[in-house]
């Protein structure tokens, strides 16, 4: 082997050590970035794991809001939203919509009367391919101010310590508003009678480039009829799905979509804080639900209602939740789609 330019001064051993250091350093940096060296980092996997109920996860289902039913319909924009956002979905017209009524539980078989939080996932798209996904709940405010506190709440809820929730509430005073709603807020007997709120704030940009921070809600167009959870329990474990199927079978059910605009200084980064009364609200259109389908074979089944899927003219704000939700929803999606055999579709044409 003739290698005349080899300088005799440098030892091969030293070179090998240098190579090992470079490779080891690269691998360590990669491992650190991946979180393998940080057992305390709140990763999407850890957050999703915390939803697992003591009875075990509902394989093939969403890791939270596991019980639900699909709907399809139309979003009728009245054009007023164009003053706030250049998103095509606010231009006067009709756009296809797909969604999912759901219960805020990790148990896909939870009896309806045992679940306080009800939600709606919604996807609206336009002919040009713009898409808006949102997932809303019926609570007027969220439970906690940060994703880290939400993780702590999930762990608290599973705690064997009877005083754990009290301790959590003491450590998180912002929890009081949500807690008050869970005990004193009205229950209804229908998904159609619920108001669904984004709770998180987003930034709308109009065609001139002006930005406004907003939240939105879907307001029911039918009068809510209060019902106690005890009465609801008597109607059966799946009464909400049966009720909405029958109701939509008789005729379309609609919600009015209202966008609320924050004033400067309003708390945009904290979904536990409602904005004061009197904020500018803009009714932007009507969601019309025309058809209900069971989730098992339904069109909402394999849709991730990731709240950060937003059309041009909408974006995230300083609210930390949409990013955390997006990360966690993706994990939930990846897991449940890999478990499809645990929640098999029924043969085409067969009724589940």
């Amino acid at each position: 082997m003739t290698q005349p330019d080899r300088s005799p001064g440098r030892s091969i051993f030293g070179s090998l050590v240098l190579i090992a250091a470079v490779i080891g350093g690269g691998a360590a940096a990669f491992a650190y970035t991946a979180g393998w060296l940080s057992p305390d980092r709140l990763t999407p996997d850890r957050l999703v794991n915390a939803f697992a109920p003591p009875t075990g996860v509902s394989l093939g289902h969403r890791r939270n809001h596991a019980k639900g039913i699909c709907f399809t319909g139309t979003f009728e924009a009245n054009g007023a939203g164009s003053a706030l956002s250049r998103a095509e979905v606010f231009a006067r017209g009709q756009y296809p919509a797909l969604g999912r009524f759901n219960l805020g539980t990790a148990d896909a078989n939870a009896p309806d009367a045992t679940v306080r939080v009800r939600g709606m996932g919604l996807r609206i798209w336009t002919p040009a391919g713009q898409e808006w996904r949102t997932a809303m709940i019926n609570a007027p405010v969220f439970a906690v101010s940060t994703p880290q506190a939400f993780y702590a709440l999930l762990l608290t809820a599973k705690s064997k310590d009877p005083d754990a929730l009290k301790a959590f509430a003491a450590a998180h005073p912002e929890f009081a508003g949500f807690a008050a709603w869970t005990t004193s807020g009205p229950w209804t007997g229908s998904y159609a009678e619920e108001r669904y709120n984004s709770l998180n704030s987003f930034v709308f940009t109009d065609s001139a480039g002006a930005e406004k921070t907003v939240r939105w809600s879907l307001l029911p167009t039918v009068q809510p009829i209060p019902v106690s959870p005890e009465e609801l329990a008597k109607r059966g474990p799946d009464v909400l799905e049966q009720e909405i199927t029958e109701r939509v079978g008789r005729g379309p059910v609609s919600w009015s979509m209202v966008v609320t605009v924050a004033n400067p200084g309003d708390p945009t980064n904290d979904p536990t804080k409602a904005w004061p009364e009197g904020r500018r609200t803009v009714e932007v259109g009507t969601l019309i639900v025309q058809r209900i389908e069971a989730e098992r074979n339904g069109p909402c089944r394999d849709i991730n209602f990731d709240p950060t899927v937003l059309p041009p003219g909408m974006g995230t704000s300083d609210d930390p939740f949409p990013a955390a939700r997006s990360a966690a929803y993706a994990v939930s999606y990846d897991r449940r789609t890999a478990e499809a055999s645990d929640y098999p579709r029924t043969a085409a044409g067969a009724k589940p």
Binding site: S15, I19, F30, G35, P44, D306, A323, A324
Partner: protein, 193 residues
């Protein structure tokens, strides 16, 4: 006709080092973004997608350039197993550079996510919505990313071994600027493996 050079062409070296930066950034962003729920998650995801497409385009350009200009021959005295490893690892690197972005794009398509490159610029779906396909592609994209990083570490180790231990001109062939001249007479060449 591919003439025998001692160094890769300037275009090849430019593509190599540009892609080295892109791919390492991409792999770190990839493992970093799936390990956080902080707002930077969205920022990282929004870089991951256009950067992946940029790598795909660069890789295709590079493949064409490589087919056109070839590569300098490996040293004649390089042991056969190392030659084989060099050839196979470079095939694997090219395959991964092209496959990883396509797998990511296909995975998002199979999940019916909009494939957003930039605000208002979406790529079309390249596969139908399917939970089975999504799972297959997700697994491939995820596990191949680690294989890719391991292969890059091996590649770096081999490059440094050529540069520091063997000093056989292989590293200099791809060095961004000439670091050391290897006189043609000193360098025994064999036909490229």
């Amino acid at each position: 006709m591919i003439e025998d050079r001692q160094r890769f062409t300037a275009l090849q070296r430019l593509l190599h080092w540009l892609m080295a930066v892109c791919i390492l950034t991409m792999l770190f962003i990839g493992v970093g973004m799936v390990s956080t729920i902080m707002p930077k998650y969205l920022t990282l995801v929004s870089i991951h997608k256009p950067l992946g497409i940029a790598i795909l385009i660069l890789a295709l350009v590079r493949l064409v350039v490589r087919l056109r200009y070839g590569a300098p021959s490996l040293p004649a005295d390089l042991p056969e197993p190392m030659k084989l490893a060099a050839v196979l690892s470079h095939y694997a690197l090219y395959i991964l550079m092209i496959a990883m972005p396509l797998l990511g794009w296909a995975m998002l398509s199979a999940a019916a996510y909009p494939v957003v490159l930039f605000t208002g610029v979406n790529l079309p779906a390249i596969l139908p919505h399917s939970d089975r396909l999504h799972t297959l592609l997700w697994d491939a994209h995820f596990y191949l990313a680690f294989a890719f990083f391991a292969l890059i570490l091996l590649h770096i180790a081999a490059a440094l071994f050529h540069a520091l231990v063997r000093r056989d001109g292989v590293f200099e062939a791809m060095a961004p600027v000439p670091t050391r001249t290897v006189a043609p007479a000193d360098r025994k060449v064999a036909p490229a493996g």
